[in-house]
């Protein structure tokens, strides 16, 4: 199989594991996180920490609703975001559930709570993997992106390369860490710990092609039910990162959840960068030559 430079760097790529050199490999696996059914229980955060032996990284009371883990990082591989909004009252059907009086809100407004479990996107075009100078980051046979902790030397290049701000250096340890999509569990035919623990199936694990179909049906159903702001995020193989292996159904704009609205893998522009650097390098040599040419004694 052969791939063009464009396909390798940024264009739609149907088979990232094949591009990485796996002749025979299982189908691409991923996550579909349907935030419309997330209840903010954080079971995913706990299950991830437990299974992957991710160390404690401090407990701050942030004042950001119920979010005290703040964001993804070297020691937070699943992160549940909590967004509190007031929206026009939709006069939802009263299910007779116990509720709290919303005294501070005007009569025509209601409070809505957006909860979303964020995770590494396992990009089709993963900038972290592209820029890693040691080969520590690699593409697995499942099409996911994993750090080899016995190789990483903590150079930190992956950190500013990630357009989602996912991977980070763990203080005191010095190596880069992120979600592995439970590579060890996948190898044993198990689903990742977070998906296993999710009580509402907000986190769905499976073959990426099948998840994309399921997500398209779900967003259509929500739209038809009047949830106009429901949209998929990271599902499109034609987007700036070639589509995410872990994609989402969101109920508001991505930046409301701390996600970039239109991320692009930095490596897309790398050929242009190298060309310009080559011109600049030649320019420096030419400038030195010119400085000597006919210079006074």
């Amino acid at each position: 199989m052969s791939f063009t430079l464009d396909q390798r760097l940024a264009a739609p790529l149907p088979d990232p594991a094949g591009e990485a050199g796996y002749a025979e490999h299982p189908p691409r696996m991923g996550f579909f996180t349907d935030t419309s059914v997330c209840i903010g229980c954080k079971a995913c955060e706990v299950a991830c920490k437990e299974w992957n032996l991710v160390p404690d990284d401090g407990l701050d009371l942030t004042g950001m609703s119920y979010d005290n883990s703040v964001g993804l990082g070297a020691s937070t591989w699943r992160h549940v975001a909590f967004v509190e909004q007031t929206t026009p009252d939709r006069h939802a059907v009263d299910l007779g559930m116990p509720s709290v009086p919303q005294g501070a809100v005007e009569a025509d407004r209601e409070v809505r709570w957006l909860m979303a479990s964020d995770v590494c996107k396992h990009c089709t075009h993963a900038a972290c993997l592209d820029v890693c100078p040691t080969g520590s980051l690699f593409r697995t046979e499942f099409g996911t992106v994993v750090v080899q902790e016995d190789i990483c030397n903590g150079c930190g290049y992956c950190v500013p390369a990630c357009p989602y701000g996912v991977i980070d250096i763990r203080p005191g340890d010095g190596r880069a860490w992120k979600c592995t999509l439970c590579y060890d569990r996948l190898g044993a035919g198990q689903e990742p710990a977070c998906a296993k623990a999710c009580p509402t199936d907000s986190i769905q694990f499976g073959e990426l092609d099948e998840l994309r179909e399921r997500a398209a049906r779900r967003v259509d159903a929500l739209q038809a039910a009047g949830v106009e702001k429901a949209r998929l995020y990271g599902h499109d193989p034609a987007d700036g990162v070639g589509g995410d292996g872990a994609f989402f159904l969101l109920l508001d704009e991505p930046e409301v959840y701390g996600l970039p609205p239109d991320p692009v893998v930095t490596t897309r522009d790398l050929p242009a960068m190298w060309k310009r650097a080559a011109v600049a390098a030649a320019g420096v040599v030419a400038a030195v030559a010119a400085a000597f040419l006919g210079a006074a004694r």
């Binding site: 100078p133 150079c155 500013p160 701000g165 930046e255 522009d269 310009r276 650097a277 080559a278 030195v288």
Partner: protein, 321 residues
């Protein structure tokens, strides 16, 4: 709760340009802060550039019969390269594993490409300088010098790709101009070093190179800030802005002094020092601008929103929207 801007509720003076309206998750940055250490990385950007351009200067100086300038440039090339190796190994969060850099050759990783430029360059430049100082194996030393000079050009500009091949808006958005800012900066530094170290009878090429390098550094920098638009203010504000302003002043003073006063020993040395300091501060300014850019969700959200809106408009069928 989302908010458009962190200080929205505070009564503030109306700015000349209103802040772009955008939403975020509690004002938290979207990108992670670069974990590259300060001063290690900006220090290396300077020392690597100085070394690369100096290696080229050394060979031209030798070929045109300027032994004093050649010696200064050789020592600058070796010193800058060795300092760079130390700074880069120290920058690693697992320095004992620095040899893992040599496991692979990866064109998509400017750090890998840079490793394969810096490693032979530092070895060759050091060998040339050692031969120059000791007089041992002069022919091999000269050969090593030529080899170092061949890698000198790439040494000056690959570091621009290192920074711009990231998601940091103030770096990535500057990828067209940054190689020329860094190339100019490296030439200014190498010219400056020649002015400091070479006898006045031999320093004419150093003065010309220093002034030309400073001019390119300033012009490419101005173009870069202009083309970055909204994000260009990362290079004008805060600690980065201070570095860039002082750098510009030093570069102008150094270039003028180099051209006008190179025949005066004191003026030549002071001008050379100013050119080098200007180059160094430019690297710090660029480094700090990127850190500030990564820390503010505005830089990530506003341009991406604009880009997405433009793509939507382009996709919309004619006669609608």
């Amino acid at each position: 709760m989302t908010r458009a801007h962190a200080d929205r509720r505070k009564p503030v003076e109306e700015p000349a340009v209103p802040p772009a309206d955008f939403r975020s998750y509690y004002g938290r940055p979207i990108l992670k802060q670069p974990t590259w250490k300060n001063p290690d990385v900006p220090g290396y950007l300077f020392s690597g550039g100085l070394a690369g351009a100096s290696a080229v200067v050394a060979e031209f100086a030798r070929a045109t019969g300027r032994p004093g300038l050649a010696r200064t440039a050789r020592l600058g090339a070796a010193g800058g390269a060795l300092a760079g190796v130390v700074l880069l190994v120290h920058d690693l969060h697992r320095p004992a594993r620095f040899l893992n850099m040599l496991r692979v050759v990866k064109p998509t990783s400017p750090l890998s490409v840079g490793t394969w430029i810096l490693s032979p360059f530092s070895a060759l430049a050091s060998a040339a300088a050692a031969s120059e100082l000791t007089g041992i194996a002069p022919a091999l030393g000269r050969l090593a010098g030529v080899g170092a000079a061949a890698l000198g050009g790439p040494m000056t500009s690959y570091t621009a790709v290192l920074l711009t091949n990231t998601a940091v808006p103030a770096w990535h958005g500057a990828y067209r101009e940054m190689p020329f800012v860094f190339g100019g900066s490296a030439a200014a530094a190498a010219g400056g070093l020649g002015l400091v170290g070479a006898p006045v009878a031999e320093n004419a090429p150093a003065a010309r190179l220093g002034a030309a390098g400073a001019a390119v550094e300033l012009a490419a920098g101005a173009l870069m800030e202009h083309r970055l638009g909204l994000i260009g203010d990362r290079y004008r504000t805060g600690a980065a802005g201070t570095c860039m302003r002082v750098a510009k002043a030093l570069s102008v003073i150094g270039a003028a002094g180099a051209l006008a006063g190179r025949r005066h020993r004191g003026v030549a040395a002071a001008s050379g020092a100013a050119l080098m300091a200007g180059s160094l501060l430019t690297r710090f300014g660029v480094f700090l601008a990127g850190k500030a850019s990564a820390a503010d969700p505005r830089d990530t959200v506003v341009p991406q929103r604009a880009r997405a809106a433009e793509a939507d408009r382009a996709q919309a069928p004619e006669g609608t929207g």
